[in-house]
């Protein structure tokens, strides 16, 4: 095998790190650029070239694909990131106020048995903290999907919103406002952020729908 063929095979191996659609569009083009830029006698990709291609492949797989001009789309991404921060604040509040909540519950229910305490801890406080931690990941995942131009995060987010609304209302009906005021306040703020995010997501979806419709109607008019 010649030096050129060996070098080309090395570059082709690196280009396999890119996603299939990117390779379909750019594979032979980038290979040409890499071969044009190779040093005389070079037989394999340099380490710096491999690192650069790996970074490019990572960006092609994970980087945002929303155009900068899509301000509404980026507003949704920013709101989703703000939601992750609010959820983190909620987690901190849940963990920081756990002791106070226990004291208040103890004051309100002096006759609690050990089994009842266990039920409060495993049924209320621990699941709330775990759910908040999972929700942080969910908010960030939604933000990433939106930045990649996916259209399906909205229906998933509607389910998430309904779930947290149900959770907030069931907590209030169980009297959580009496023994965990700060937690309820943070949960309410979080619910408002969710509602705002959903409203902006819906507005963006509607405006995109009508933008898609415009060329069809103008074509039929012409």
């Amino acid at each position: 095998m010649s030096d050129t063929a060996r070098l080309e095979r090395g570059y082709r191996r690196c280009l396999r790190w890119y996603p299939a659609d990117f390779r379909r569009d750019h594979d032979t083009e980038i290979l040409g650029v890499l071969m044009d830029g190779a040093r005389d006698g070079q037989t394999r990709p340099a380490l710096t070239e491999c690192i650069d291609l790996a970074a490019g492949a990572l960006h092609a797989r994970l980087g945002p694909t929303l155009p900068r001009s899509d301000r509404a789309g980026w507003a949704v991404v920013r709101l989703l990131c703000a939601g992750a921060v609010a959820e983190l604040a909620a987690l901190v509040v849940v963990l920081a106020t756990a002791g106070g909540v226990r004291s208040t519950v103890a004051a309100l229910n002096p006759g609690f048995t050990a089994a009842q305490w266990h039920a409060v801890l495993t049924g209320e406080i621990d699941p709330t903290a775990v759910a908040a931690a999972v929700a942080i990941g969910f908010w960030l995942w939604m933000a990433w999907l939106t930045s990649r131009g996916h259209g399906w995060p909205r229906p998933v987010f509607v389910l998430f919103f309904l779930l947290t609304t149900y959770s907030l209302l069931s907590g209030l009906s169980a009297g959580s406002a009496l023994y965990a005021r700060l937690d309820v306040a943070v949960a309410t703020i979080l619910w408002i952020v969710e509602a705002a995010t959903l409203a902006v997501m819906t507005r963006v979806e509607i405006s995109r729908h009508f933008r898609r419709q415009v060329p069809v109607s103008s074509a039929s008019a012409g």
């Binding site: 032979t28 980038i30 650029v33 890499l34 830029g37 070239e49 650069d52 790996a54 001009s69």
Partner: protein, 111 residues
Amino acid sequence: MTKRTMQEATFLILTALAAGSRHGYGIIRDVAAISAGRVQLRAGTLYTALDRLRLDALVTVDREEIVGGRLRRYYRLTPKGAAELAAEAARFHANAATALARLGPVASGSG
């Protein structure tokens, strides 16, 4: 809100294309020449930037050629790309002029 500053590599790629359409390796060589060898773009970085610029409609594919059995794609500035480059260049120019005026003799090498 402050408008985000264009990255130097992006600015240099657009500057290379301001002189006319270029293929990938042509852009790399031109960027190295414009920056007096200080910025050496690599293929991965170049195509990440070009993809972003195409997505933002600042550059577009001008034409394609097959040279030595390989695809050679030429890129050119769009009117929007030219306008953004002009705005960014004017901003750099204004900032540089202010900096040089304030430095005065130090900048001219007499200090």
